[in-house]
Symmetry: C2
Subunit: 201 residues, 2 copies
């Protein structure tokens, strides 16, 4: 298969390691890298190196950050007594994008998956109880995924945090906006009925 020069084959192989990139996409990206001006490649390489060097986890909430404490934890204008627990940094990003939540986050950096051997010790829950006490949290919103792992994690957290006496809520599970009930699966429908909410005119 040495049809391309070795350095190009090496590049294609390295690119194939990236998630979602097969041999064909890697080849297209490699040709892009060969064709694009050198300055563009310098920008690409320096952005990789800089991100790798500067990004760490916020020491308070475990969100991605380029400082010790992330911008959300530093933001004094946020509602500091509301804590949203999520699985990963991309969840924070997507919730922030929706502008619906103005409180604080706690990122677990994972979810419980007993079958894969991922237990509570693999999640960042150390100091969560302490944080809830110190920061005088009034509501804990569990926003883990609606899949098996996320649900297991939500259940575990509920049991763990119940003794704090703080109000614990789970984000609404049900029919996504814009979709038809006709096409909803039975699992989603059953959750939608559980999560029904009283309406008043």
């Amino acid at each position: 298969m040495a049809n391309f020069p070795t350095t190009l084959e090496n590049l294609i192989n390295e690119l194939t390691k990236m998630p979602g990139i097969g041999r064909r996409s890697a080849q297209r990206i490699a040709f892009y890298i060969l064709n694009v001006p050198r300055t563009e490649i310098q920008k690409l390489v320096s952005s990789i190196v800089k991100a790798k060097e500067s990004i760490c986890f916020c020491k308070v909430c475990n969100n991605l950050s380029d400082k010790e404490t992330c911008s959300i934890c530093q933001d004094q204008t946020r509602q500091r007594n509301s804590l949203c627990i999520v699985e990963g940094p991309s969840d924070v990003a997507v919730i922030e994008n929706s502008s619906t939540f103005k409180g604080m986050y706690h990122v677990l950096l994972g979810s419980l998956a007993p079958l894969e051997g991922k237990g509570p010790e693999d999640l960042k829950i150390n100091g969560l109880l302490q944080r809830i006490k110190n920061e005088q949290i009034k509501e804990i919103i569990i926003a883990t995924d609606a899949d098996t792992e996320g649900e297991t994690t939500a259940l575990y957290l509920t049991k763990l945090l119940q003794p704090t006496g703080v109000k614990i809520t789970r984000i609404g599970l049900g029919i996504p906006m814009g979709s038809n009930i006709e096409y909803a699966d039975s699992h989603t429908l059953s959750r939608a009925f559980e999560h029904r909410k009283e309406v008043k005119s």
Copy 2:
């Protein structure tokens, strides 16, 4: 949209410039870059830099090469009087992979697309006539794509090279192996009839 630290946003933006990579894929790749060991990233970055620095076009056939002349042009065991004209280096790679052709190549680095303003001057046809004469080519196989641009290019090359007196052939156009005539489009079918070949028992 500054939900991620700036350096991470920069990385995602740079990744989005790559072909076939949208915001979501870029985000996944960025997280991969953050999670993977530092040595892996050094390998990725050095493969990008090395490929960018070392890969050039072969001065004989315009194929990608890490030397002045590519490995195919240097290979003295190949059938040097048969010349296959293709649009790009990936065409060479895929033909080489099929092990059906043992001759030489000429890479045009493009195809004629009058509507996009791409004319013969944008193709590497300089020196092609000279090459055909010097290397005593006996057969020219036109292996440009079977799309409008490729067909236009094939027509142009046929007219250009006819005066050399060398036998010019176009690769077979028709029903791809493993597919049903029932599902073939009429354009492909009409070409398949044009490219029909006498069979003998």
